[in-house]
Amino acid sequence: MSAPTRRVALKVVGATLGAGAFAYAGQPVAQWAADLSLDEVLRKHYKELSPEELAQILRRLEAETKETYGVEVRIEDTPAQEGVSFGYALNLRACIGCRKCAEACHQENNHDRRTNNSYIRVLEMEQGSFDMERGTVDYDHAVPAPGKFYMPVQCHQCDDAPCVKVCPVEATWKEKDGIVVVDYDWCIGCRYCEAACPYHARRFNWQRPEIPADEINPDQGYLSNRIRPQGVVEKCTFCLHRTRRGLLPACLEACPTGARVFGNMLDPDSEIRWVLEHKRVYVLKEELGTRPRFFYFFDE
């Protein structure tokens, strides 16, 4: 074989191998791209949707849930009510650290079962200290333990929320009733909000949530507990699919000691107003200037 022919042959072999390598290496990306729905990729921001477009999306999401999880669910979008501004208070003297609230959150909000996710973390703290450095979330013994007190932490729905500030695409914002929400279909998954939040309130969907069909809560809200897609951030919404319809948050209903007080801070007769006006109130990391709507108080 003469030299030029051999060179050509080498080039052909090289090119074939090269093309094969490209095709093989690119396969997972190509498969991922093929699974994307154009409808979803080109969708408008939540605030730009007309009522008809929103309704269409809700039906599509219901159909997708049926297809993926095999369950009939109802996804609604209840708007913030006029004259309502939500607040939440937690009695540190009453809380016994049983974590029933975290469990109720897990079920109500269709959290991933594999990671046992919840929007609430309960810290076991040392009596006589507010130093979280000396607290732990990993306690595993009968509660309440002597010499300890318990501090559940969840989203504080800050009025000057660092998470809302840092989001580069306005995928998260504060609603009129004070609740900070995420449009799961707009979030790009950069997790800047997770870095910005001082209360460890945000969670990322590191994978598509795994939930057995019979455990799925079918009563869902678009901005709250519908099953989240993979690769986006989520957070506590004070169970807005419940609270905007006059129900109480799941964590409050589950609390056996009545440590939790939730309500409309604009209503002068509400229990939350009474607590805020009469009790000694503590705001976690108040020095950061985030102006939370979540308060801790001490009862006599």
């Binding site: 840092v166 995928a171 951030v233």
Partner: protein, 406 residues
């Protein structure tokens, strides 16, 4: 003789550039094949991550940024560091530096490609990338620092593409470049280089909930380290170019760059000491991350090897740079550059991003160790950057030295 410039001649120029990018010696082919192979391994790993979700990484809700953002941060520094060739060349009229300044601009372009790569792979939903495009998506500017970063990084990329592209095309045509078409952009790019790293520091520095980052010293430290890693990389690159025989130049540029490094390595060590003093002498919650980083905490010490290796390398680079031998013996200087580059990579990467999350905001100690997938993706992006840089320099020098002309 000057050729006439028509749209057709520009197309012809581009065609020759492409041909040049794909032809070379066997050494060139071997180098490009290795880089392509690594890049493909990275692409495959990223595809895996897209399909199965970011659970294939070791990231968690506690440590939500890791190896990717660490590399991104370092890459921005590298891109900004290239300006240390532009400043002497244009502000101080250093003619020797002027002869090689194009290499700095090409490095800036390649480094930005690397940065953008790391941002893309860190996104949970890259299919929604258009949401962050100004005018089309919902650009949360000027409130979100990330939108500033989008603007400055892409702006820096465009500025350098324009400057390098314009100068090269004029060289190709055999014309003297017209000052008004590039000088204003060069001066703008100097300020811009500072801005990309300042904005990137502000991303972290502005978070009140993360005491480790929430320090006014972060941006100055970022710039100091950028002016270590940038010159260190360029010195090595210049030696490679000299060795390849494609460009002849005097010792001036390397002398200038190593002088810059002699200042910045000490500046960086000083600022590191200042941060350590503040954290450790004050004590309390603000020192928790520093203690974890340097000494480990509650039996957990995943970052300790990273940071001490970084400290040793940074000190070694300073010592080497001040030894008289590094002025006369290239090998000593190159060793210093290698130490400095790696030292900054570790300190500013894993040593800066991860301790921002450990302990978490609720003071939980969850550690992070990158997975094989993360390392594959990371290697792939750096390989892609080196591919871009190799082609850019190969083509750039061919045009620059007049071997390819209209």
């Amino acid at each position: 003789m000057t050729a006439s410039a028509t749209p057709l001649s520009y197309l012809r120029f581009l065609r020759r550039v492409v041909v040049l990018a794909f032809s070379g010696t066997w050494r060139f082919y071997a180098w490009m094949t290795v880089l392509t192979a690594i890049a493909l391994v990275g692409l495959n790993a990223w595809g895996h991550q897209l399909q199965h979700g970011m659970r294939v990484t070791d990231l968690s809700d506690h440590v939500s940024w890791g190896l990717y953002i660490a590399n991104f941060t370092f890459g921005v520094g590298l891109a900004a560091g290239a300006v240390m060739m532009v400043i002497p060349a244009y502000l101080y009229d250093d003619h020797d530096m002027h002869d090689v300044v194009i290499i700095g601009e090409l490095l800036a372009i390649s480094a930005i490609v690397v940065c953008l790569g790391f941002i893309v792979v860190d996104m949970g939903r890259p299919d929604r990338m258009w949401h962050i495009v100004p005018g089309i998506g919902r650009f949360h500017w000027p409130v979100s620092m990330l939108t500033w970063d989008v603007l400055v990084l892409n702006g820096y990329l465009l500025l350098n593409l324009h400057i390098a592209g314009y100068l090269m095309y004029q060289r190709y045509l055999g014309r003297a470049p017209r000052k008004r078409w590039y000088l204003p952009f060069v001066f703008l790019s100097i300020f811009w280089a500072i801005s990309i790293h300042t904005v990137t520091a502000f991303l972290y520095q502005g978070l009140g909930g993360r005491p480790f980052w929430n320090s006014a010293l972060l941006a100055p430290r970022f710039l100091a380290t950028a002016f270590i890693s940038g010159p260190a990389f360029v010195i090595v690159l210049l030696e490679v170019v000299r060795w390849s025989g494609r460009l002849t130049f005097g010792d001036g540029p390397i002398r200038t760059l190593s002088q810059i490094m002699r200042v910045t390595v000490l500046l960086n060590l000083f600022m590191l000491g200042s941060e350590l003093f503040t954290a450790l002498y004050t004590g309390g919650a603000h020192s928790a991350a520093v203690k974890y980083l340097f000494f480990g905490s509650h039996g957990k010490h995943a970052l300790v090897p990273y940071i001490w290796t970084a400290v040793v390398l940074n000190v070694a680079s300073a010592v080497l740079l001040y030894l008289p031998r590094s002025r006369t013996d290239k090998r000593w200087l190159l060793a210093a550059c290698g130490c400095a580059f790696l030292g900054v990579y570790l300190e500013k990467g894993m040593g800066l991003i991860v301790p921002g999350f450990v302990p978490s905001t609720l003071h939980e100690l969850v550690e992070y160790t990158p997975t094989v997938t993360e390392w594959k993706v990371t290697a792939g992006i750096w390989a892609l950057g080196l591919l871009v840089l190799t082609v850019a320099i190969k083509v750039g020098l061919a045009v620059w030295t007049g071997r390819v002309r209209a």
